[in-house]
Symmetry: C2
Subunit: 109 residues, 2 copies
DNA sequence: CAATATACATTAGTAAATTAGGTATTAGGC
DNA sequence: GCCTAATACCTAATTTACTAATGTATATTG
């Protein structure tokens, strides 16, 4: 596995929740947004994205609503819940601390 | 899995190489040092530590030497190689970029 | 009308990590 | 002297997260 892929591991949940905190989005949109935002650092394959969305919904951190567009495309929009926001707060806090520690270690070298 | 454990994933290789860049160390020592350094953020179970050390050695990033202590304990010291330092440079660079991107995303929320 | 993009999803396989053991010696408390 | 904890190495079985490879269906563009 590439260094970049290895590094990205474990960040999926937080990045997903952060995006959905800004506004409800549908899967395909999220996938595009992830790629755009992080210059490829957060690119998420569909085989990971959809199962993760389903898991987060099952955990009560997201809800979903089907919507039809004017041109007959069906989209499943995901909305973050109160529990989701709570989880995001935790995640962001933990990431902050972790990154601080890692920075210390990198600098010490 | 706890948030902390999830976050830590993928950082093992870089943290290991960073420690060994400072000085040669043996497995048990590394394990202690990891726990001490990161307030638990970098705690590495033995089932991960030893296989990883062996893998890195196989990849030519580390070498190892057995040593006997005065009180008859055998220790296997690991030393980083030139290739290991190269890899570490890459890893640290990638982590820096990744953390920058992640910080942007967190701040944007 | 063919190729590409949009939009959902699943399955099979891989890699990294945890859990749970195992061996052997030394140090410290009772 | 004996028991527990610490030191020091290690492996095997399982779980989890991820990638790679597909599959279905419709819309858009050249």
């Amino acid at each position: 596995m590439s260094i970049r892929n290895q590094i990205r591991k474990g960040s999926t949940e937080m990045v997903l929740l952060t995006l959905l905190q800004q506004r409800p989005m549908y899967g395909y949109e999220i996938s595009q947004e992830m790629t755009r935002l992080g210059d490829g650092y957060f690119e998420m394959k569909e085989g990971l994205l959809y199962p993760t969305l389903h898991r987060l919904q099952k955990e009560g951190l997201l809800t979903s609503q089907w919507q039809e567009t004017e041109n007959d495309r069906r989209r499943k929009y995901y909305t973050i819940t109160a529990a989701g926001r709570e989880r995001l707060k935790e995640q962001a806090q933990e990431w902050q601390t972790f990154m601080g520690k890692l920075q210390e270690i990198i600098n010490s070298a």
